[in-house]
């Protein structure tokens, strides 16, 4: 196997040096679920750059949040000659028939970021369960017991359920022993910050000062929660997030948020490009570094997966993000009092 890949890479390199011969390039198709969110542009740029380095073409289609459109998109990508498919499932169950059509045509499918439960699909992404676990661990470190509020993501979104599951993996023991008390939890329509803010305000009304930590499932909602806490004079309560939004990192620097589970999607984009390259070359994904098997006992499914772990960012290690070029020092330090954070002085 390795020899074939090696050979292939050498051939590719030669091809590139002669001046990109189209015959060697594979066409990789991506079906986005809803491109209009902060992160996907970054995903696409990293994916495209790495694929082009490897000598492949990228075709994209955006389902704009529609199950039907995504099925049509996948058919369209196949018709346009995609030889490997990356799919960000809008509804990861409803997309399976379209995925099976691709597999039937001999086109390998990679589930990108959101897991599609199918034995022949390879999954790559920041596992939401790992994200949830990182959030809960970071909060438990600063607030090992007490009254927790859970601000969960969109109820229709599997990713929100994955994150929630990860959080519960970490805190459920403490919940059962009574150390942690979940005094309120709410799903948040479409993960909207304004909705999270109103919900948090109402939860503060109901529970007031007894709230001791807020497990928010992402940074956008954390901005709403922080605004509600500030209004009640409770800013500084342990608060979690995910994504590494610039505003969230700034909140961490100002002491208004405890952590964000940073998903450097550029790492994901590059890793996915390499995975697609390997699969296109006939490599078994299970032989790759970091590969593992995801097992769903209930559905009896075993599938190859390359889960990436998010990096927990707290006030201690913001410089990691600056060094990676994710955020500038100026963006981190907006409104940070001098002497509070060495990075900002």
């Amino acid at each position: 196997m390795t020899i074939t890949t090696l050979l292939r890479k050498t051939v590719l390199a030669t091809a590139l040096s002669v001046g990109a011969q189209a015959a060697m390039a594979e066409t990789i198709g991506v079906s986005w679920a809803r491109f209009q969110e902060e992160r996907w542009k970054t995903d696409e740029a990293a994916l495209k750059e790495r694929l082009e380095e490897l000598g492949h073409n990228l075709l994209t289609a955006d389902a704009r949040g529609s199950v039907e459109r995504q099925a049509a998109d996948i058919e369209g990508l196949l018709a346009r000659g995609a030889e490997v498919l990356l799919v960000v499932g809008h509804d990861t169950t409803a997309v399976i028939p379209a995925v099976e059509r691709a597999l039937a045509e001999g086109v390998p499918v990679i589930a990108y970021e959101r897991q599609i439960k199918h034995p022949d699909v390879t999954y790559i992404g920041f596992d939401p369960v790992l994200v949830g676990e990182a959030q809960a661990r970071a909060l438990m470190e600063v607030q090992p017991e007490g009254n927790y509020v859970l601000i969960k993501g969109g109820q229709q979104d599997q990713y929100a359920h994955g994150t929630f599951q990860g959080q519960m993996n970490v805190i459920s023991e403490a919940v059962e022993s009574g150390k942690i008390n979940i005094i309120a939890e709410q799903w948040t329509t479409d993960w909207k910050p304004e909705v999270a803010q109103s919900n948090m305000e109402n939860i503060i009304t109901a529970h007031g000062d007894s709230i001791e930590a807020v497990l928010s499932s992402n940074d956008g909602m954390a901005s709403g929660v922080a605004a509600a806490l500030e209004q009640a004079g409770m800013l500084g309560l342990p608060l979690s997030g995910q994504d590494g939004d610039i505003a969230a990192v700034n909140r961490i620097a100002r002491g208004a948020q405890t952590m964000t589970a940073w998903k450097d999607v550029r790492v994901l984009g590059r890793a996915a490009a390499e995975l697609a390259n390997a699969i296109a070359g006939g490599t078994d994904p299970m032989t790759l570094d970091g590969a593992t098997t995801f097992v769903d006992e209930e559905m009896g499914i075993e599938q190859a997966a390359l889960p990436l772990e998010p990096v927990t960012i707290t006030i201690e290690n913001i410089d990691l993000m600056v060094d990676a070029g994710w955020i500038t020092t100026e963006e981190v330090c907006r409104g940070v009092e001098s002497g509070k954070l060495s990075l900002c002085d």
Binding site: Q155, Q186, N199, A206, G208, G220, D245, I246
Partner: protein
């Protein structure tokens, strides 16, 4: 007996408003009991007022749009776009510490909202494209543009003074100023009803209104600012809402365009024949709607202290629902500004109360949907009995 006679003498619009105000009080009472006294605490009352403000501001415009037998499906997207443009200018483009920054961005935001409104009004009134189509297109166009403005990034933080518009701890009047505002309002109301001294019913309703105002201000003042004994007072968002609603009511009742809006909604052809500039009326109504969207954007972004891509998504539905609960008829020619504002409070009260009870978001959607149908159904049945 006297009350019955008085009620019969009331015109249909006032009766509907009275019913709506009573249902709002009833909803509050029910939640007060169900939540074990949490609902009508000063804190929740204050939050409820601020949470309702954006939808209520937009409803003022929506009532006028609906009265001209049009609809605006793009309000949430216009709000998103203007909010994001304000955020981009204030946070990324202009210097963060310049004193002129926030006033200029606010003005530019209002201008942008108005221009968008004029554009849509032009398409509806002068080109003759149905408003449903124009604003459906607007919903898509401006939502897409909202993303393009900052490539989907969340922008934060705003200037401190700007955040006053959000009605948080900094955005409230304080106790003394709140009482002064209340006294001014009561005074104006008193002068206005001097002329109608004979009308006992009007006197009673005005007295009740002033009592409600005093109670509300007392509630706002009873909610202490964090770590202090000083009360919040009237939130800025309610002040903005109150001023805008008062202007709108004045325009509808006392200015020619108010009559024109009604005439256009009842029968466009007849209105044109008697010399109403029907096209210009529609154009102006859409322009006002656009400007109000910008006001909503200012309140929402200042409150959240961030501009986000999905700002205002699906808000058009709450706004239309509030207008309809408030008595606006989609057949045109009928609607009430105050009713719409009360409608916005009804919807937010249900939402807030149900969250306090720990009801899930999907169940909340179901219940509020039924309330919408219920309100119009009740209205129909009541109308048939008259």
């Amino acid at each position: 007996m006297a009350l019955g006679v008085a009620l019969k003498r009331m015109d249909e619009g006032s009766r509907r408003l009275l019913a709506l105000a009573l249902s709002l009080v009833a909803i509050w009472a029910v939640f007060q009991v169900l939540t074990g006294g949490l609902f009508l605490t000063p804190r929740n009352f204050y939050n409820l007022a601020v949470q309702s403000s954006t939808v209520a501001v937009l409803t003022i415009g929506m009532v006028m749009v609906i009265m001209t037998r049009n609809i605006d499906l793009s309000v949430g997207s216009i709000l998103g776009l203007t909010g994001m443009v304000i955020a981009l200018l204030q946070i990324e483009v202009f210097p963060a510490d310049a004193a002129w920054n926030w006033p200029l961005t606010v003005l530019l935001g209002l201008a942008l909202g108005t221009v968008i409104g004029l554009w849509q009004g032009f398409l509806v009134a002068y080109i003759g494209i149905p408003s449903f189509v124009v604003t459906l297109a607007g919903l898509l166009i401006f939502r897409g543009a909202t993303f393009e403005v900052a490539q989907g990034q969340t922008l934060s933080p705003f200037q401190n003074i700007y955040r006053i518009f959000g009605g948080g701890a900094a955005g409230s009047l304080g106790e003394t100023a709140s009482w002064i505002v209340a006294a001014l309002c009561a005074g104006i109301a008193g002068i206005l009803i001097m002329r109608a001294r004979r009308d006992r019913l009007l006197l009673v309703t005005t007295a009740l209104g002033i009592a409600g105002l005093v109670a509300a201000v007392a509630m706002f003042n009873a909610y202490d600012r964090p770590r202090s004994e000083l009360g919040h007072g009237i939130p800025s968002t309610i002040l903005i809402l109150g001023c805008l609603a008062a202007i709108a009511v004045f325009v509808m009742r006392r200015m020619p365009i108010g009559t024109h809006i009604l005439a256009v909604g009842k029968d466009v052809e007849a209105a044109r024949l008697v010399g109403v500039p029907t096209r210009r009326v529609v154009l102006k109504v859409f322009a006002a709607m656009g400007a109000l969207c910008a006001v909503g954007a200012i309140i929402t972004t200042a409150r959240l202290n961030a501009g986000t891509t999905n700002l205002g998504t699906l808000m058009e539905l709450n706004v239309i629902a509030a207008a309809v609960i408030g008595g606006a008829s989609l057949d045109g020619g009928r609607g009430s500004i105050i009713g719409g504002v009360l409608g916005a409070f009804v919807i937010q009260s249900l939402d807030t109360g149900l969250v306090l009870l720990g009801v899930s978001s999907s169940m909340r959607q179901i219940l509020i949907g039924f309330v919408l149908i219920g309100a119009v159904w009740f209205d129909r049945v009541a109308a048939r009995h008259r």
